[in-house]
């Protein structure tokens, strides 16, 4: 394994002026579509695909990859400033990022996200170049039983670590699970709760729920308080984190990077699980967990790093197995095939300059993102000084365009309105929205994998404890539950809750 030699080859390809140019174009476009709620990287890549015919394959791939991780990055900007998660991986960032912005630390939150993403991107690139083939074998070790246990872990963590009362968190998760049921049951082909509307026969899209629940309901809540919000959000702290803040943020960034690069390898849900997992860990090990949800900078630095390194390593299943793990990767696969490159185990050996060039370009792209975005932060934050009566109209417009563009269906806008009302009610009832969304995202995967595992085992539930990986995951679940149910800790949770009420 000539690790250094490989990277050197990669950089020699990536730093050519043409490729740097396309990398720049990619991350710039990605940042823009990431910031605009609802307009995702997939549609952007599809629109640009014809234009890439004329390019060298490597330049085309560098640009398209740049759109993807640029969008991951841009998604955090709207999550922090407007509480609008454009991507499922940015949901967690709305919690503390938005609170930081409300406290006047918008620039700090954005710069932490940028620095964290860069460190995580660097780490992800190293992981990708050193362990890509090895990590690919992990992905194929995960069968239905393992995925099921991973989803259980995610949901249990969501309950244990939420800040409000247990019962409310549990109810919100279950509600989320129920909404996740809508659509066609994969096993029987029967439609569930679709009321004969063909547009929802494959389920309600994440973006519809997220934009309605978070974005539009936040607007409703803000309009209630009038122009107060714009005054609050004036910047009171500078762009650069102080030495003390950096010392506070660095460990979460590193932990997030490691966690993200591991979970990113898993097809489906990996990137979202990464940002969520990182938040859970940071909250769990924090000396004072009550700060979370009120603008803790660890709650931005950790998840933002995790989703970025996961975005890097999510290329591993595509590049080493030829299996696209999400819609964006399916788009990358189409692009590669249009250039006569078949993603799969042979890419590294047959076209090393392409593989390593792409890997190296991702690091360069992350560098460009930081350089590009640190100066832009000032401009983004100015957004908050736009009078809210004007700003909210623009946000609403973009939410509608974004929701409509998912599948060119007006029906989705009506559902978006429905979720906006629902979100407003939840906020009034002081119910947390994140457990709902996690239930909604993880629920369908949980069900699919549970049923598949049981089908394959012939109805024998011991399959979850006899397979080593799923057994270990369940052990972690048990540990979490014990910790949550220990009386001492429970009392502490309740104290925290009373503090919040006061």
């Amino acid at each position: 394994m000539d690790f250094i030699g490989n990277l050197a080859l990669g950089f020699s390809v990536a730093v050519s002026p043409t490729n740097i140019f396309y990398c720049f174009v990619g991350v710039l476009l990605g940042t823009l579509v990431g910031v605009l709620p609802g307009i995702g990287p997939i549609a952007t890549m599809a629109m640009l695909l014809p234009a890439t015919y004329a390019l060298e394959p490597i330049s085309a791939l560098i640009m398209l990859a740049g759109i993807y991780y640029g969008a991951q990055y841009g998604g955090s900007t709207s999550a922090i400033l407007l509480k609008l998660p454009g991507e499922s991986s940015a949901v967690i960032t709305t919690l503390d990022g938005y609170q930081m912005a409300q406290k006047g630390q918008a620039e700090l939150a954005l710069s932490l996200a940028a620095i964290g993403s860069f460190i995580a991107g660097t780490f992800g690139t190293l992981v990708l170049s050193a362990f890509a083939p090895l990590l690919a074998t992990v992905a194929v070790k995960f069968g239905a039983a393992e995925y099921f246990c991973l989803m259980v872990l995610g949901l249990v963590a969501a309950i244990v670590l939420s800040s409000g009362p247990l019962l409310k968190a549990l109810s919100m998760i279950i509600l989320g699970l129920l909404f996740g049921i809508i659509g066609t049951d994969i096993n029987s082909g029967l439609e569930r709760y679709t009321f004969g509307i063909p547009e929802v026969s494959s389920g309600i899209s994440f973006a519809v729920v997220a934009l309605g629940l978070f974005g539009v309901s936040e607007i409703l809540a803000n309009l209630e308080t009038g122009e107060k919000r714009a005054v609050v959000s004036k910047t009171i702290e500078g762009l650069w984190p102080t030495r003390a803040q950096m010392r506070q943020a660095l460990p979460p960034i590193l932990r997030g990077s490691v966690l993200g690069s591991l979970l990113g390898v898993l097809p489906g849900g990996g990137v979202t699980m990464a940002s969520f997992g990182s938040y859970s860990i940071e909250k769990k090990i924090a000396k004072d967990p009550s700060r979370f949800g009120k603008g803790a900078l660890e709650g931005v630095a950790g998840p933002e790093s995790a989703n970025n390194s996961a975005a890097q390593t999510s290329f591993i299943p595509l590049l080493t197995l030829g299996v696209p793990s999400n819609g964006v990767m399916a788009m990358m696969m189409s692009a590669m095939m249009l250039h006569n490159i078949r993603p799969g185990p042979q890419v590294i050996t047959s076209t090393p300059e392409l593989f390593w060039g792409l890997v190296a370009s991702m690091w360069l792209g992350n560098l460009i993102l930081v350089v590009l975005n640190l100066p832009l932060i000032g401009i983004w934050v100015k957004l908050l000084q736009v009078p809210y009566r004007l700003l909210y109209l623009v946000i609403l417009l973009f939410c509608c365009i974004g929701i409509y563009s998912i599948q060119n269906a007006a029906t989705d806008i009506y559902f978006g309105i429905l979720f906006a009302i629902l979100g407003y009610v939840f906020v009034k009832l002081r119910c947390e929205l994140v457990p709902f969304l996690l239930g909604f995202i993880l629920g369908p995967m949980l069900e699919d994998n549970l049923r598949r595992a049981m089908l394959l085992s012939g109805g024998d539930a011991t399959v979850f404890v006899t397979r080593p990986i799923s057994a270990s995951l369940l052990a972690v679940v048990a540990l979490l539950l014990i910790v949550a149910l220990l009386p001492k800790i429970r009392r502490k949770r309740e104290e925290v809750f009373q503090d919040q009420e006061a």
Binding site: L29, A43, A46, P50, Y53, G189, L190, S201, P345
Partner: protein, 335 residues
């Protein structure tokens, strides 16, 4: 900004290059040809899938060549809602003025047997011609228990061990699932049917050992087969498989597994005859352009073209075949 102008430069360059042979052809054309209907403004091509993947790829490749024969830009409109149902309804109800073309697959005739409320069928459209064909491959893990078997030995094993061989199919009564049923019906084998979300999920399941076999498209398995991780036992096409000429067809092994899988272009039923004739000619010219064949091969799309008349026969035959099998398999319309 920068990118936008760059993109339009590239696009107009491509378009200019593409229009060159068109101009030459026009100059040489007879007066009769010059009267053929052609669009005079951009055209929408409705595709029943999201960006990325086989359907969308097919449309984008086709459109890039078809633009030069149509003389107008062709916009791809992705309409994946309802697994294609919404798109097929839109194609049926579109204004019949030649500016909305639809790309369909064989599911246009099979949906009525499995989805409630489906009102379209083989008679709902005017066909322009076939644009591609696909095969279902029977795939197993190369170093798994069936990697050394041929297709006859494999189905014999599944017959002796009913319900013991997990078989991954994407979705419920999709063409993959019909293929699974045809294999069972033709051989007496009985698999453990495992519905999954899509081809890539099944590939991973076979690699992880969760399922033992699957019915998959060539483009979904090519890299793993070339790398020696997966093995193709048979395919349901009617001629040698591109890239793997040694893989037998099911029928050559005495198994009647032969459902055809194809894509075609259509117009709304009421489209005037001159517009239909114009589009049929545009499609024929496009499909005979070597650029299409080459781009298909690169993208792993099976090249096949039938003109409108032959296409109608193919649709008729597919309707019969799916009707017969659906009745035999007891497929129920969902509700």
């Amino acid at each position: 900004m920068k990118n936008h102008s760059h993109q339009s430069v590239v696009r107009s360059a491509i378009r200019a290059a593409a229009l060159l042979p068109f101009g030459l052809a026009l100059a040489a054309a007879s007066p009769a040809l010059a009267q053929d209907w052609k669009p005079t403004r951009p055209v929408n091509l409705i595709v029943p899938s999201n960006p990325g993947g086989g359907h969308d790829n097919n449309a984008r490749i086709l459109a890039s060549t078809m633009e030069k024969y149509a003389g107008q830009p062709i916009n791809i409109v992705n309409q994946a809602a309802g697994g294609g149902v919404v798109a097929y309804n839109q194609m049926m109800k579109a204004k019949p003025d030649g500016y909305t073309v639809g790309q369909i697959s064989v599911s246009v005739v099979s949906d009525q047997f499995r989805i409630s409320g489906v009102t379209y069928n083989k008679d709902s459209y005017t066909y322009l011609g076939q644009i591609s064909s696909d095969q279902n491959l029977l795939v197993v893990k190369a170093d798994g228990p069936f990697g050394k078997m041929n297709v006859k030995e494999f189905v014999a094993y599944a017959k002796d061990n009913p319900g013991k061989v997990p078989f991954g199919v994407s979705g419920n009564w999709t063409n993959h699932d019909y293929t699974r049923f045809q294999i069972e019906d033709a051989s007496g084998a009985k698999f453990l049917r495992v519905p999954q979300k899509g081809g890539s999920e099944i590939v991973l399941s076979i690699l992880s050992g969760d399922v033992q076999a699957g019915a998959l498209y060539p483009s979904e398995v090519k890299s793993q087969v070339d790398a020696g991780a997966l093995k193709i036992l048979a395919h349901n096409g009617d001629r040698a498989l591109e890239g793997w000429p040694d893989v037998p067809t099911f029928t050559s092994q005495g198994l009647a597994v032969d459902l055809s899988i194809w894509r075609a272009l259509v117009l709304p039923k009421e489209t005037p005859a001159n517009i239909v004739a114009g589009w049929r000619k545009i499609l024929e010219e496009t499909m005979k352009d070597p650029a299409v064949k080459q781009a298909y091969a690169t993208a792993g799309i099976g090249y096949a073209y039938r003109n409108a008349e032959d296409m109608e026969k193919l649709v008729e035959a597919a309707d019969n075949a799916y009707r017969t099998i659906s009745a035999k398999a007891g497929v129920k319309v969902s509700n």
